[in-house]
Amino acid sequence: MVTKRIDHKWGMVVDLDRCTGCQACVVACQAENNLPINTKDSFQQARAYEWIRIERYWEGEFPNVKARFIPIMCQHCENAPCEPVCPVYATYHNDEGMNVQVYNRCVGTRYCANNCPYQVRFFNWWEPTWPERMRNQLNPDVTIRSRGIMERCSFCVQRIRRGEITVERRGVEPLTGERIPDVDGPDGRYLNYQRMKDGNFLPACAQACPTNALKFGEQTDPTGPVYQYFQKANEQYDKVHHGEYIDESKTRVYRLLEEMGTKPNVIYLKKVDQFPVNESSH
């Protein structure tokens, strides 16, 4: 039986209003993706790995200050600056809106890292090592990267692939194990948001986020959590590119470094501040 090819376009929405800066996503990512343990030494060398990092900013002046958090991971840009500069096609764009890193092909020129405006690419300066007791903790679905190659957030592509195999190829309902009827449409063998959630096929950070600040799903799936935001963001993108004015105080949706034209597949939602820091009060 030839399985039908289903075109996905994955995207993530980061709701900054919900983010508490708890770093659960960082830990989940570290455990899922076989990242070496960031020791004090690796931080001091500025060579620590954080595929997703929480940036913390302070707003206002003491005593009237607020902490602001913004999680930053690979933005999976549609017009990614890292992709055209790789001489060996180790990083390329697949048709699901993901930026893919092929570890086997990477020779380590580090040009992609120079060209990434978001600073989310990590180079293996040393051979990664784990304590002996951690050996069995490694995720068998994820390659262990050797020294001298580049790596970064993959949107947990191994989980998405497992979801596609389970739901779309084998046609098994992830939670109950029932057969899914081979019909067209969203009721058929289609990896929708509910099935991703049931089968733990969401990226580790999105699954671990206690406040649901990270939402992952298909951009074109109206039942998913990210559909409306991507519609809004694309609408804004088109408007800006046709020279129209966007009132930024009326919209929460934005992309990081939008002016660079990279068009990321990650969207940020602004914080809704009930009591904004009054700059003139101090």
């Binding site: 055209p84 020779v107 380590g108 040009y111 890292a113 180079f123 300066w125 040393w126 580049m150 470094l257």
Partner: protein, 472 residues
């Protein structure tokens, strides 16, 4: 026009071939010392490959450091050969003659050394076959539909540099054929009864049946002129493409500039010609070639360098002005780092002073241009400055790249491994030049003889006219 007494052809042969196949004692000492430095650099590179690039000072976000700086520097040095041989040959500058061969050979060796740098700099040098796809019969994954990414400047780079290397080697070999023939005849066995030595056989092979008949001379000259003309576009494109490694990087604001191509090409000529002038002074000193590398040649190089340096300075100022003209906050931050903050402001001052103000001040008076010590100092100063220039372009741009304040801001400080490898490249080029000086004349014999013939004058009545008139 030319100074000094005419030199008979026999004396030219004797003096210029004196270094070949019999070397003074210091030669081997120098070669061994340089070889030890190269060996040290090789072990440092091996250590780095074994341990990982963590042993260098590079980190996030300064992903490129000394190695790429050195790569651009040596590519720059390699531009001397074509500048002196091809451009001056086509523009018929007589004073180029003693400088051409040394410049071409320096081109070949500095290109080879330059190409080592990106290979050492990669994280996994053993996977380079994916990158350097031009190697014949390389096990590239064509069968699996995997191809090199031709959109990447790092693929344009090896393509341009290997084209340049191939044409430079051709250029050197074509020019060497008549000289190899002289060496073949000199190493021939005294009588027909003796069996020829290995040296003789090798020179016979390299001389490619040169008999010195008019047809061969004609072909050799045509080949030289053709190669000169064909190599010119390669010459311009190589350093332009090297500059596009930086110009294409959208995320590094101070690199993302369209002026980089001409700026880098002129800078390359500047550093390259200075290096050749310095190399010629050294050769004159160690081999005693006072009759051939005369003050007039160094003087002419100095005058050429004033023009090149001023052209380079124009592009340097323009690059800075364009940076300020854009008024982009990120770019201004890099400029602030380069011009205002310690230690970059000191490096910047040293760089501008040593690349332009000091050497041009030294080249302007004729008296200084004719003083070899002052000329050497000026030429070394230019090369220190040009090395710093690449360093100042590469590292502060990367260091100040990120717009996220929470990203790590790290200061790049090169490690001992990097210093050793950089030192090794300089030793490697010097050693190769010395070794070549032993097997091939570094001053073209036939070119000097041609110059001697062209300067012969005859007296007809009261007027003195050139004895030979060249038609071309």
């Amino acid at each position: 026009m030319q100074e000094g007494r005419p030199i008979p052809s026999r004396q030219i042969n004797r003096e210029l071939l004196s270094t070949i196949l019999n070397s003074p004692k210091w030669f081997w000492i120098a070669v061994v010392l340089l070889g030890l430095i190269v060996l040290g650099a090789m072990s440092a590179a091996g250590f780095m490959v074994n341990k990982g690039l963590g042993v260098t000072g590079m980190n996030r976000p300064v992903m490129w450091g000394f190695f790429i700086t050195n790569f651009v520097f040596w590519i720059g040095i390699s531009h001397a050969g074509v500048m002196l041989s091809a451009i001056l040959r086509l523009s018929k500058a007589e004073w180029r003659r003693p400088a051409t061969r040394a410049a071409e050979i320096l081109t070949v060796f500095s290109l080879m050394t330059a190409m080592l740098m990106p290979l050492i700099h990669t994280g996994r040098p053993w996977r380079l076959v994916y990158w350097i796809y031009t190697v014949p019969f390389a096990p590239y994954d064509y069968a699996r539909g995997i191809w090199p990414n031709v959109r990447s400047p790092l693929v344009w780079d090896p393509s341009a540099v290997y084209t340049y290397l191939t044409s430079s080697i051709l250029f050197v070999l074509v020019a060497l054929i008549p000289d190899f023939a002289v060496l073949r005849d000199r190493t021939a066995p005294p009588t027909s009864g003796h069996s020829p030595t290995l040296t003789h056989r090798i020179y016979t092979l390299l001389a490619m049946g040169w008999r010195g008949n008019p047809r061969q001379w004609k072909l050799q000259i045509i080949a030289g002129v053709l190669l000169s003309a064909l190599i010119l576009p390669v010459f311009v494109s190589v350093h332009s493409i090297v500059s596009w490694d930086f110009g294409m990087a959208v995320a590094v604001k101070s690199w993302h500039s369209t002026i980089f191509a001409p700026y880098f090409v002129v800078g390359a000529v500047h550093s390259g010609v200075s290096a050749v002038a310095f190399a010629m002074i050294i050769l004159r000193h160690i081999y005693g070639w006072q009759n051939y590398i005369r003050h007039e040649h160094i003087d002419a190089l100095g005058r050429l360098l004033i023009v090149v340096a001023t052209g380079w300075f124009y592009f340097f100022v323009m690059e800075v002005i364009f940076g300020f003209y854009g008024r982009e906050a990120d770019e201004l931050a890099v400029r602030d780092l380069q011009f205002m903050q310690n230690p970059w402001n000191i490096w910047m001052m040293v760089f501008v002073f040593t690349t332009y103000f000091l050497p041009v001040a030294l080249w302007l008076p004729r008296m200084f241009r004719r003083n070899l010590w002052i000329m050497s100092a000026a030429c070394i100063s230019v090369n220190i400055g040009m090395w710093l220039e690449r360093f100042i372009i590469i590292v502060p741009g990367l260091q100040n790249k990120q717009v996220f304040t929470f990203s790590w801001y790290t200061v790049y400080s090169p490690s001992a491994v990097e210093w050793t490898i950089i030192g090794g490249t300089f030793a490697l080029v010097s050693m190769l030049m010395l070794l070549v000086a032993r097997v091939a004349p570094l001053i073209p014999l036939y070119d000097i003889k041609e110059a001697e013939i062209l300067r012969t004058e005859v007296k007809i009545g009261r007027v003195t006219v050139p004895a030979v008139y060249r038609e071309d």
